[in-house]
Symmetry: C2
Subunit: 92 residues, 2 copies
Protein backbone atom coordinates (compact mmCIF):
# COMPACT_ATOMS: atom_id res chain seq x y z
CA UNK A 1 0.00 0.00 0.00
CA UNK A 2 1.19 3.50 -0.81
CA UNK A 3 1.08 6.12 1.93
CA UNK A 4 1.20 9.89 1.67
CA UNK A 5 3.67 11.93 3.70
CA UNK A 6 3.93 15.66 4.37
CA UNK A 7 7.53 16.83 4.79
CA UNK A 8 8.36 20.08 6.60
CA UNK A 9 11.89 20.93 5.49
CA UNK A 10 14.19 23.53 7.07
CA UNK A 11 17.18 24.70 5.04
CA UNK A 12 19.51 26.89 7.11
CA UNK A 13 22.94 28.40 6.54
CA UNK A 14 25.85 26.62 8.16
CA UNK A 15 27.05 28.50 11.25
CA UNK A 16 30.32 29.53 9.56
CA UNK A 17 28.54 31.16 6.59
CA UNK A 18 27.78 34.89 6.70
CA UNK A 19 24.17 35.99 6.16
CA UNK A 20 24.11 39.52 4.71
CA UNK A 21 20.32 39.39 4.26
CA UNK A 22 19.91 38.55 7.96
CA UNK A 23 22.20 41.43 8.94
CA UNK A 24 20.22 43.81 6.70
CA UNK A 25 16.94 42.74 8.34
CA UNK A 26 18.49 43.10 11.81
CA UNK A 27 19.68 46.64 10.99
CA UNK A 28 16.28 47.63 9.57
CA UNK A 29 14.37 46.21 12.53
CA UNK A 30 16.56 48.23 14.91
CA UNK A 31 16.08 51.39 12.86
CA UNK A 32 12.31 50.83 13.02
CA UNK A 33 12.42 50.89 16.81
CA UNK A 34 13.09 47.23 17.63
CA UNK A 35 16.43 47.93 19.34
CA UNK A 36 16.11 44.77 21.43
CA UNK A 37 16.75 42.54 18.41
CA UNK A 38 20.12 40.80 18.57
CA UNK A 39 20.89 38.26 15.83
CA UNK A 40 18.79 37.48 12.74
CA UNK A 41 19.37 34.66 10.27
CA UNK A 42 17.19 33.75 7.31
CA UNK A 43 16.62 30.28 5.93
CA UNK A 44 14.09 28.46 3.78
CA UNK A 45 11.02 26.52 4.86
CA UNK A 46 9.68 24.06 2.29
CA UNK A 47 6.59 21.88 2.54
CA UNK A 48 6.09 19.03 0.12
CA UNK A 49 3.93 15.95 -0.16
CA UNK A 50 5.21 12.66 -1.49
CA UNK A 51 4.04 9.06 -1.82
CA UNK A 52 5.99 6.09 -0.40
CA UNK A 53 5.27 2.57 0.84
CA UNK A 54 6.57 3.36 4.33
CA UNK A 55 8.24 6.05 6.41
CA UNK A 56 11.76 4.66 5.93
CA UNK A 57 11.47 4.96 2.13
CA UNK A 58 9.94 8.43 2.41
CA UNK A 59 12.81 9.50 4.67
CA UNK A 60 15.38 8.13 2.21
CA UNK A 61 13.66 9.92 -0.72
CA UNK A 62 13.62 13.19 1.23
CA UNK A 63 17.32 12.90 2.07
CA UNK A 64 18.07 12.39 -1.63
CA UNK A 65 15.95 15.41 -2.63
CA UNK A 66 17.64 17.62 -0.04
CA UNK A 67 21.15 16.47 -0.99
CA UNK A 68 20.54 16.73 -4.76
CA UNK A 69 18.51 19.89 -4.98
CA UNK A 70 16.76 21.52 -2.04
CA UNK A 71 19.88 22.36 -0.04
CA UNK A 72 23.34 23.45 -1.14
CA UNK A 73 25.19 21.29 1.36
CA UNK A 74 28.45 23.21 0.91
CA UNK A 75 26.92 26.19 2.72
CA UNK A 76 23.58 24.92 4.07
CA UNK A 77 22.26 22.39 6.57
CA UNK A 78 18.87 20.76 6.26
CA UNK A 79 16.48 18.85 8.47
CA UNK A 80 12.90 17.73 8.03
CA UNK A 81 9.89 16.46 9.93
CA UNK A 82 7.81 13.78 8.24
CA UNK A 83 4.12 13.23 8.97
CA UNK A 84 1.86 10.59 7.43
CA UNK A 85 -1.28 12.36 6.17
CA UNK A 86 -4.63 11.59 4.55
CA UNK A 87 -4.60 11.41 0.74
CA UNK A 88 -6.47 14.73 0.35
CA UNK A 89 -4.07 16.73 2.57
CA UNK A 90 -2.03 19.46 0.85
CA UNK A 91 0.84 21.75 1.76
CA UNK A 92 0.42 25.25 3.29
CA UNK B 1 14.87 41.68 34.77
CA UNK B 2 15.40 41.33 31.04
CA UNK B 3 15.07 37.88 29.48
CA UNK B 4 16.34 36.60 26.16
CA UNK B 5 14.03 34.86 23.70
CA UNK B 6 14.72 32.87 20.55
CA UNK B 7 11.96 33.23 17.95
CA UNK B 8 11.51 30.65 15.19
CA UNK B 9 9.42 32.40 12.55
CA UNK B 10 7.65 30.76 9.61
CA UNK B 11 6.54 32.99 6.73
CA UNK B 12 4.38 31.11 4.23
CA UNK B 13 2.34 32.12 1.20
CA UNK B 14 -1.40 32.40 1.71
CA UNK B 15 -3.21 29.40 0.23
CA UNK B 16 -4.77 31.50 -2.56
CA UNK B 17 -1.37 32.79 -3.77
CA UNK B 18 0.42 30.94 -6.59
CA UNK B 19 4.00 29.76 -5.93
CA UNK B 20 5.88 29.56 -9.26
CA UNK B 21 9.17 28.75 -7.47
CA UNK B 22 7.48 25.81 -5.74
CA UNK B 23 6.09 24.55 -9.04
CA UNK B 24 9.56 24.85 -10.65
CA UNK B 25 11.10 22.80 -7.82
CA UNK B 26 8.33 20.20 -8.08
CA UNK B 27 8.90 19.86 -11.84
CA UNK B 28 12.68 19.57 -11.40
CA UNK B 29 12.39 16.97 -8.64
CA UNK B 30 10.12 14.86 -10.86
CA UNK B 31 12.52 15.16 -13.79
CA UNK B 32 15.35 14.02 -11.51
CA UNK B 33 13.48 10.79 -10.76
CA UNK B 34 11.36 11.79 -7.76
CA UNK B 35 8.06 11.15 -9.56
CA UNK B 36 6.28 10.55 -6.26
CA UNK B 37 6.47 14.23 -5.31
CA UNK B 38 3.06 15.92 -5.38
CA UNK B 39 2.88 19.53 -4.18
CA UNK B 40 5.81 21.78 -3.21
CA UNK B 41 5.56 25.23 -1.63
CA UNK B 42 8.44 27.40 -0.49
CA UNK B 43 8.41 29.79 2.43
CA UNK B 44 10.89 31.53 4.70
CA UNK B 45 12.27 30.38 8.05
CA UNK B 46 13.77 33.12 10.20
CA UNK B 47 15.46 32.80 13.56
CA UNK B 48 16.08 35.86 15.70
CA UNK B 49 16.97 36.61 19.29
CA UNK B 50 15.45 39.51 21.20
CA UNK B 51 15.36 40.85 24.75
CA UNK B 52 12.14 41.49 26.68
CA UNK B 53 10.98 41.62 30.29
CA UNK B 54 8.53 38.75 29.78
CA UNK B 55 7.08 36.44 27.16
CA UNK B 56 3.96 38.56 26.58
CA UNK B 57 6.08 41.59 25.61
CA UNK B 58 8.35 39.44 23.44
CA UNK B 59 5.30 38.02 21.67
CA UNK B 60 3.90 41.51 21.08
CA UNK B 61 7.27 42.72 19.71
CA UNK B 62 7.45 39.74 17.38
CA UNK B 63 3.94 40.34 16.08
CA UNK B 64 4.89 43.95 15.33
CA UNK B 65 8.11 42.89 13.54
CA UNK B 66 6.23 40.35 11.41
CA UNK B 67 3.42 42.78 10.53
CA UNK B 68 5.78 45.67 9.77
CA UNK B 69 8.60 43.93 7.98
CA UNK B 70 9.17 40.18 8.07
CA UNK B 71 5.94 39.16 6.32
CA UNK B 72 4.00 40.80 3.53
CA UNK B 73 0.58 40.15 5.06
CA UNK B 74 -1.24 40.82 1.79
CA UNK B 75 0.14 37.57 0.37
CA UNK B 76 1.83 35.84 3.33
CA UNK B 77 0.89 34.30 6.65
CA UNK B 78 3.27 34.10 9.57
CA UNK B 79 3.57 32.20 12.84
CA UNK B 80 6.33 31.84 15.36
CA UNK B 81 7.49 29.76 18.30
CA UNK B 82 9.12 31.60 21.18
CA UNK B 83 11.61 29.98 23.56
CA UNK B 84 13.31 31.62 26.52
CA UNK B 85 17.05 30.95 26.21
CA UNK B 86 20.31 31.54 28.08
CA UNK B 87 22.01 34.87 27.38
CA UNK B 88 24.82 33.25 25.34
CA UNK B 89 22.46 31.32 23.00
CA UNK B 90 22.50 32.35 19.32
CA UNK B 91 20.49 31.61 16.21
CA UNK B 92 21.27 28.76 13.75
Amino acid sequence: MQRKYLAKIFVTLRPSVLDPAGVAVQTSLRQMGHETVEQVRIGKYIELTTIAPDEAKARQDLNDMCEQMLANTVIENYRFDLIEVESQTGVF
